[in-house]
C-alpha cells in the first residue's frame, strides 16, 4: 500500500507540494500508536531534508471511512477559515481509499510533543503546568473563536443528546437510580433557559498532551495540534479543556495502580492544592474569554465525563471485535471481573464519572 501511495504522491508532487523539490524516494517510519485509536501512522522521509515530508494515517478497519472523511472535512474547514489557527493544524494533502483502506496524508507540523514534569511530592510541577495550561487554553480560545460562525443552536440538539447519548450510557452501564437521576439533572441544567441557550462549540475530541506540539520561535511559543480523527464541528463547550486538564496529571503520575489513577483525578478536582487551583483559574478565564457562564462548568464537566465513558466503551468494543483488548483495559478490569464483556464496562472514565457523582459537593470548580 505504501509503495502505491509513494508512486502516486511522487507523480503528483508538484500539485501536492508546490514549490518543494521532488525527492527521489520515500521511506516510512511506523508509529502504530494505541490500538483503541483504530489507526496506524507512518512518517514519510526522503533524503533531501531532515524532517519528515508528510505523515500517513491508515485506518485499520474497512469501516474507517467516516472517521477519515470527518477528519478531512474538519481540517479543510479550519484551513479555509484561515487566521492564526490554520497554521497550527495539519493540511490535508490526500484522503482516499488505497487497497480497501482509508488513508489520510497530512502535512507535518513543527514542534515537539508537549512535555510535563512532576515534583518529588507527586504533583505536577507548577511552573511547567502553568505554562502548558496557558498555552492549551489560549489555543482553545482561538479555536473556538475561529469556528464561531459554525455553531448551531442547541434546542433540538439537546433533545437529541438526551435521547441518544444518555440512553446509550444507561443501556451500557448499569447505573444506579441516583446516578441516573443525577445525569438527567445535569443534562437539564445545561439546557436551562437561565443560560439563554447553550452555544455549542467545536471539539477536537482527543485534546491531550500527546496530540499537542510545542515550538519555539525566539520568545514566541506556538502550539500545533494533530490527530483530528474524533473531531466534530459542534459539541459541548469546555470538552477539550477538560480533556486536557483531566489527563495532564494522569499521564505523568509516578505510582502504578488503578488507585493511583483515581487519586490523580481526585487531586485535580476535589482537593485544594496549587494544581487544582491552577485548573480552577484556567477554567474560569476560559469561560470569561468565551462568554460561558461559569456556573455551567460543573454540569458540563459531568457531561464531559459521560461522553468520555461512552467513547471509551465504543473504542474498546471495536478493539475486541478483531483482537485483544489493550493491556491497560485488561489491567483496570482485572480486579473487578473475569469476563471480557464486563471488562468493557469497568474502565477509567466510568470510574471517574461515578467518583464525581459521589463527591460532587467537593468539586473545586
Amino acid at each position: 500500500m505504501l509503495a502505491q501511495l509513494s508512486d502516486r504522491v511522487l507523480d503528483e508532487w508538484e500539485g501536492l507540494f508546490p514549490g518543494s523539490p521532488k525527492p527521489r524516494g520515500i521511506q516510512y517510519l511506523g508509529i502504530p500508536g494505541s490500538i483503541e485509536g483504530g489507526t496506524t501512522t507512518f512518517l514519510a522521509f526522503s533524503e533531501r531534508q531532515k524532517k519528515p515530508e508528510f505523515v500517513v494515517k491508515i485506518h485499520r478497519s474497512p469501516e474507517g471511512g467516516d472517521e477519515a472523511q470527518n477528519e478531512r472535512d474538519v481540517l479543510l474547514d479550519l484551513q479555509f477559515r484561515g487566521g492564526a489557527i490554520s497554521s497550527t493544524v495539519p493540511r490535508v494533502i490526500l484522503c482516499d481509499q488505497i487497497e480497501h483502506r482509508w488513508v489520510s496524508v497530512q502535512s507535518i507540523l513543527d514542534g515537539k510533543l508537549m512535555m510535563a514534569a512532576m515534583t518529588s511530592k507527586g504533583l505536577p510541577d507548577m511552573a511547567s503546568a502553568e505554562m502548558n495550561m496557558s498555552l492549551a487554553k489560549g489555543w482553545l480560545v482561538k479555536f473556538n473563536i475561529t469556528m464561531e460562525h459554525g455553531r448551531s443552536s442547541n434546542s433540538s440538539w439537546l433533545s437529541e443528546y438526551r435521547t441518544n447519548q444518555l440512553r446509550a450510557l444507561e443501556t451500557i452501564y448499569d447505573l444506579s437510580e441516583f446516578e441516573h437521576d443525577y445525569l438527567r439533572e445535569m443534562v437539564a441544567a445545561v439546557g436551562s433557559p437561565k443560560f439563554g441557550g447553550l452555544p455549542l462549540a467545536p471539539v477536537h475530541g482527543d485534546f491531550q498532551r500527546h496530540n499537542i506540539l510545542v515550538s519555539q520561535d525566539g520568545h514566541k511559543t506556538s502550539l500545533g495540534v494533530i490527530d483530528w480523527t474524533f473531531s466534530r464541528g459542534a459539541g459541548l463547550p469546555l470538552h477539550d479543556l477538560f480533556a486536557f486538564t483531566t489527563t495532564y496529571f494522569l499521564q505523568i503520575r509516578s505510582t502504578t495502580s488503578p488507585t493511583s489513577l483515581m487519586k490523580a483525578f481526585e487531586d485535580t478536582y476535589f482537593d485544594l492544592n496549587p494544581y487544582s487551583l491552577l485548573i480552577q483559574r484556567q477554567v474560569s478565564e476560559y469561560c470569561s474569554e468565551l462568554g460561558i457562564d461559569t456556573s455551567l462548568a460543573k454540569p458540563l464537566f459531568v457531561l464531559f465525563l459521560f461522553e468520555r465513558a461512552l467513547f471509551e466503551y465504543f473504542q474498546l468494543e471495536r478493539c475486541s471485535r478483531t483482537g485483544s483488548l489493550p493491556r491497560f483495559a485488561i489491567y483496570l478490569s482485572q480486579e473487578e471481573t473475569s469476563s471480557y464483556r464486563e471488562a468493557l464496562r469497568h474502565q477509567l472514565w466510568i470510574g471517574f464519572l461515578r467518583t464525581f457523582i459521589r463527591q460532587s459537593d467537593r468539586f473545586v470548580l
Binding site: 505504501l2 509503495a3 502504530p32 490500538i35 522521509f45 515537539k112 500527546h210 485483544s324 493491556r327
Partner: protein, 371 residues
Amino acid sequence: MAVCPACLNPTGRRAWTFLCDGCLAGWSIKDEIPTLNDGLVTRSMSGPLEHGELGQLVASAESNGWQQALYEYNSVKVARGAAPEEDQRLADWQYLVPLDRNTVVLVVGSGLGTVPLSFSERVAAVYVVDPVWERVRFLRIRAVQQGIQNVFPFYTGGRFNLPFGAGSFHLVVLKSSVPWGAVDDTPRNQRETSQIILQQVHSLLRPGGKLSLVVGNGLSFLRLLSLIIRPAMWIPRSIEALKSALGLGQKVHLGSLIGESSLLGYRKLLRAGGFTDLDVYAPLPSHTGVPLFSLPLNSGTARKHFFSHIFPLFEMVSPEVKRQYGLQYPIARLGVKLALRFRLTAMVKYFVPGYSIIATKKPGVGSVQEC
C-alpha cells in the same frame, strides 16, 4: 492448493484424510485441520506450561468464545506484569508490502491469529502452518467464530515440511522465534537449517514475491551488555555459534527456523538464498511482542529524526508501561544519548534488538546458491 510434501503431487480430500494422488501417502484431518506429522497430533512442543495455558485458551474458546478466551489468557499475562503477546499493531507492517485481492499469503507460525486474520481481510487466501496444535486449533476456532473463510491452517508437528507447490505464494511471513523441530531426519547445525528453510521459502514464492522475516540480532545491545555483566553465561553459546559459523557445530535438531545472526549475516544469508531489495526495519523496543515503532534502517534521516524527536516520547507512557521495560529503557536511553552526542546514529542499526526484513525473490532465479 496443498501438495504432497514427499513427492509434490497434488492431494485431494477424502472424508477425514488428505491423500496424495501420486504416492498415495495420507494425512488425517482433525477438527477440520490437516495434520502433517504422520497424522498424529502430538503434545505442544513448547513445553508443559504453554501447553497448559494454550490448552485452556482453546477449551475456553470452544465453550465461551474466542474473545473471552483471549481475555482470560491475556489477563494472566497482565497479572504477571507482562503485556498481551499480540494486538493489531503486530500486523501493521503489512502496509509496507503490496497486497490485493489476488494475493496469496503463507504465514509460518500462527501465534494467536492476529497476523493471519488481519491479512485475510485484504487478500485472496492465507495459509498458516504451525507446529503447536493448540495454536492452530485456536486459529481455526477464531476464523470460524469470526466468519472468516479464507484462512487455512495446517498442523505440521515438529517437521518443517510444507505441503505447497513451487511458486504458490506472493508473500511468506516468517518469524524466526517460532520454535520448530527439524527440517528432516538429518541432524543439522543452525546455519544449514537456516539455508534449507530459506531455500524452501524461496521455492514457495512466485518470482518477485516477498518474504517478511522477523529475526533477533546476535549483536543486540542487550546481548552485548549481558556479555559484559555475566560473561560465563554466554561463553558456551558463543562457542557453539562460532562452531556453527565454521560448519563445525554439533549437528542437532535446533529450535529456531533461522538462527540468530548479525545484520551483515542476514544480508549475506538472504542474498545467497536468492533474495534481493532488502528493506530492513528495526521493530522497537523489540522484535518479540508488539512493536511500538518500526524504524527503517536504510534511511539516515528517519534514524536521526527518531532518536532526536520520537525516542524521547517514551517518557510520556504510563508508569505501568515503563515498569514493563525495566532496565531496557534506561540502557537504551543512554545508548541513544551517546549515539547522538558522538554522531554514531548510523552504527545503531548493528545493535538493535532485532530486525524485520522484507526481501524480494529475484525474478528469474530458480535455484539457490550455496552460502
